[in-house]
């Protein structure tokens, strides 16, 4: 079992790294929790280590996952006009596209709003979890690559803004009801954004080196 304080310090053999945005070479920053390292030439954020990053990553990713599962189980929104009511779940945001024969779009929406954010939280939880519990790597290079490969394509927070826009669009023409899933998805988004702010490419990969050596 690795102490979390060790991971937070990330004391590695001091070596050089290059900025991903301008290729400027510098000594690898040894960050203390609460510090951020910027590239001296282009200002790119090389790495940021939040206070208590490991514990918060674990707790927020697990909470987010549970909330995401809850968000798929209950009604998301309902719409009432002249006595006619329509209620949808989160799934229907994607499946209705499929029914309307926009199949590609159905998959894109499903991947962007449910699958990718969920996978990211799952991978973060399993990577950080196994690292702390066993101090060993389980397929870590694949998992960490997957996390950073999926990041640009997970659009939970963008979807939520879309939901708010459509809510305001619809309140003028009909009565809109908000279901349990809506609140679950809102809380999931907050956890997801919190995890995003804690994920750091440099730290994630250097934790792996640390685990290998122990």
């Amino acid at each position: 079992m690795i102490e979390t304080s060790k991971l937070n310090g990330s004391r590695l053999l001091s070596s050089n790294i290059a900025c991903q945005h301008c290729d400027f070479m510098m000594a690898e920053p040894q960050l203390q929790p609460g510090q951020v390292a910027l590239c001296p030439r282009c200002g790119h954020k090389i790495s940021r280590l939040r206070v208590n990053a490991v514990n918060e990553l674990l707790s927020y990713s697990l909470t987010g996952l549970i909330l995401l599962i809850l968000a798929t189980l209950f009604p998301f929104m309902s719409f009432t006009l002249n006595g006619n009511m329509m209620e949808i779940t989160l799934w229907q945001a994607a499946t209705e596209f499929y029914i309307e024969n926009y199949k590609v779009l159905a998959f894109v929406v499903f991947f962007f709003i449910v699958l990718f954010p969920g996978l990211i939280l799952m991978f973060v939880f399993s990577y950080v979890g196994t690292l702390i519990l066993f101090g060993r790597r389980f397929y870590s290079p694949i998992i960490v690559s997957a996390i950073f490969g999926l990041l640009p394509w997970a659009m939970a927070e963008v979807f939520f803004v879309g939901v708010l826009v459509s809510l305001i669009k619809l309140t003028t023409i009909a009565e809109i009801g908000i279901g349990l899933s809506f609140w679950a998805y809102l809380l999931f988004c907050l956890c997801y954004v919190k995890v995003l702010s804690l994920i750091d490419k440099h730290q994630f990969w250097s934790w792996m080196d640390l685990a290998k050596k122990i």
Partner: protein, 218 residues
């Protein structure tokens, strides 16, 4: 052989792994940590970026000409384009929402196209704008790209929610698909662009001391 700015890893024959960031000798061919192929720069970065940008632009044209959704109320079909939807919102008096949708689905893609085309151009023809400022522009495009999807998600919600038989129905339009494609292709274009190219032609004079460490408290 192209030359690299002094102070850069590439000028010493060291490649920073595109996947994990580990610095290794380019002669090793593969990264020792994540086993991906080592490259000094993204191969054919400008060509790939331009190809994907043009593809995105081709999708962006029908995205603005065709309706993004059709609403059918008691047998009467009304179609709205992206800009048309913004105008309707504005006329209804929901100004903040109209501005959000207009910025996300019109301003952001156009700004992104202009910046990326200009960045590709600027790699070959050194402009007066400094490398640092152009890198900031690149970061902006990387960050704002995904927010264009807002409109597609709005259509997804409306199509799913407004299904009241013959009373009121909303169906997706062709623009929803082409707009999503335009966004996805420009996101790929931004990923293919290598911002390090903006620094390679830099003269040696404004290289900071490599010992100056920029660590700040949050």
């Amino acid at each position: 052989m192209t030359h690299y700015s002094s102070g850069s890893a590439a000028s010493l024959g060291l490649a920073s792994c595109h996947r994990c960031g580990k610095l290794s000798d380019i002669a090793l061919k593969r990264c020792g940590r994540c086993h991906s192929t080592l490259r000094l720069r993204i191969p054919n970065s400008i060509q790939k970026t331009l190809a994907l940008l043009i593809t995105g632009l081709i999708f962006f044209i029908p995205a603005n000409l065709f309706p993004i959704m059709h609403s059918e109320q008691l047998g009467v079909i009304e179609s709205a384009t992206i800009v048309g939807g913004v105008i309707i919102l504005w006329e209804q008096g929901s100004y903040p929402i109209a501005i959000v949708v207009f910025v996300a689905s019109v301003i952001v893609p156009i700004v992104k196209f202009i910046i990326l085309f200009w960045l590709c151009y600027s790699v070959h023809f050194n402009p007066s704008v400094s490398s640092r400022e152009r890198t900031v522009l690149y970061r902006v495009t990387e960050f704002i790209g995904r927010w264009s999807m807002v409109d597609v998600f709005v259509v997804a919600i409306l199509v799913a929610l407004i299904q009241l038989g013959g009373v009121l129905n909303v169906r997706p339009g062709l623009a929803a698909l082409t707009f999503a494609c335009a966004v996805i292709f420009t996101m790929f274009a931004a990923m293919c662009f290598d911002p390090r190219l903006l620094w390679d032609k830099l003269a040696n004079n404004n290289v900071p001391d490599s010992d100056t460490r920029n660590i700040k408290e949050l």
